[in-house]
């Protein structure tokens, strides 16, 4: 397999992981809105359903994007595809 094909394989793998986490926090947990509301887990004292819509999911998305960017940079470096700094 060529270097480029390997690079793309890894990139795609990272995409699937990223989208899986995204799916859980943007769609998955909201299938269980009522269950979250009844849950005894109360971040900072807020009902879990309320907290996830106000801050929880939003904050996780911010972290997820930075994490994704870092991983993708590592993959690019590994295969020598990262940009030269003076580009």
């Amino acid at each position: 397999m060529s270097k480029q094909a390997q690079h793309w394989e890894k990139t795609r793998g990272l995409l699937f992981v990223t989208l899986a986490i995204w799916f859980v926090f943007s769609i998955g947990i909201f299938l269980f809105g009522a269950e979250m509301e009844a849950s005894s887990i109360k971040p900072f004292g807020y009902p879990l359903s309320y907290y996830m819509t106000c801050q929880g999911s939003l904050g996780i998305f911010v972290i997820l994007i930075f994490w994704f960017a870092g991983r993708q940079e590592k993959i690019d470096e590994e295969f020598g595809f990262s940009e030269r700094e003076d580009d």
Partner: protein, 606 residues
Amino acid sequence: MFKGKFIDNLPKIYGTYTGGFIVFIILMAIGEQAGMSAKVIGICFVAFTVLIYALIGYLSRTIQVDAYYLAGRQVPTVFNGMATAADWMSGASFVAMAGGIYFKGYGYMALLVGWTGGYVLVASLLAPYLRKFGCYTVPDFIGTRYGGNLARLSAVIVLTVASFTYVTAQINATGTIASVALDIPFNIAVYVGLASILMCSMLGGMRAVTWTQVAQYIVLIIAYLIPVFWISNKMGAGVFPHLMLADEVARIAELEAQFGLGSVKNSAADLKQVPKGLSGITKAHAEVNTTPWKFISLAVCMMAGTASLPHVMMRYFTTPSVKAARRSVGWSLFFIFLLYSSAPMLATLSKLSLMDPNLATGIIGKSISEVQAIDWYQNWNQANLMFVSDFNGNGTLELNEFFMGGKAVVLATPEIAGLPYVISGLVAAGGMAAAMSTADGLVLAISNALSHDIYYKMINPKAETAKRLLIARILLVLIGFAGATIAALEIQGILGSVIWAFDFAMSGLFFPLVLGVWWKRANAQGAVAGMLGGLAAGTAYLIAVRSGYPGFLDITQLTFGIVGSVVSLVLMIVVSLATKAPDAATQKMVDDVRVPSGKAILGRQH
């Protein structure tokens, strides 16, 4: 001043600017103490900030294509993040979002999740690849990747429909704020708003819009956060409201029960008295009040729409590298998060201020005549944003007898909570910044697509630089005027048309963009079918639902993008597979887009 070294000096320049703005706020506060009238303070805030933006726009003027379309591709990560956040957060986010949460609670918060979750799709599926492509506009990518003028034209059509729907709402918002702050009639204020918008973009294109948007972000975030923190501290609710309002949320639930939320229904005759656009509290504050599907379908539409709206995507074309584009998406969302996570807190504080009889500001349970005598009630009643009426004739204001407009949550809460008027002036300046920055991004996206993709690429490929930029500027002004003219007619509300814009963009552009990078086999015929078919299906569904068709699967006029995008996806796959695979050169182009290193597909001057 705006060359080379300017980029290195950015933190210093915007640091000074922020400091200057804070000094200005303090001066206004001193002025208020010294007896300056509320109206003068409002005028000063709006006029001063708009003049600063115009100055930045003038200083950023350019005669280079590269700077006009891409801000010279040298916008640093964090600053591009701020500019994108301002580009993104519209008048609707600033003025209407907290109000939506206040009235509709959990069901409405699907928009918060959707408008942030979409950035994960932007970062992982699209932005870095489109940056590598080196295109000037979104149709530029579609036209080059798929090949042919028809694909390019289809993309321009979808872009124009979505962005134009959006921009009229923004010009409408600038008009509303300008008319309140400057005390002029709305249909004149709309053109004042338009003039301010054009001053920021006409001379310098993307470069001017970038640097004004950074300035506008700073104003709007200061204007949003100061009242939230101030009110929270004044009420004794907590120094840091975002983490400390749990008791207040619980207290609202307690009061809702005490005041019999939902137990008394207003009769149709009673509701007829209530001015149009105002509503009462009918939904519990923090309860899960919608079905999972309704929540998720709305969130999905907003997410896919985010990833397809061209005025956001084109901000990532301005970063120095692919790596910077990716990180820049993270910063954008961080800056957006600062405001979005504060909106629910503002809604909570606002509601508690009005409801809690233990607070001096609480009005529910007081006598009607007492409430009608309050200064701020009279002001906002006159502005048609507040209304009380003694439906049951007991002389006391009940929860179901108090009505408010959505905008009042942001605009009136500082006054209700007893903050000095200088804060209300600041909020007006913030709302103006939010609406202007989004309008600028949208007008520029449309006029760039028309001037670059239609005029230069399709009509006159031999046009000289000066002529191209002249055409771009003329189109910018024309589109601005068209938008303002429609805005002056006041056909739709602000929030409704914003949501439609997302659905239009999602219907026509989401899959053609994503598959352009992720599916090599996608070809021009498939893309054209996907774009036009998706847009047509979505629009048809919207029209059908609006004229009484009950719809299917609970898909409403707010989520018609689901219909459009599914049709788009199916058409794109079927038509692509039924026709010839893209040639070797196109396949090679897709391979090149997938790695960050190496030359951009389209050169610097194209």
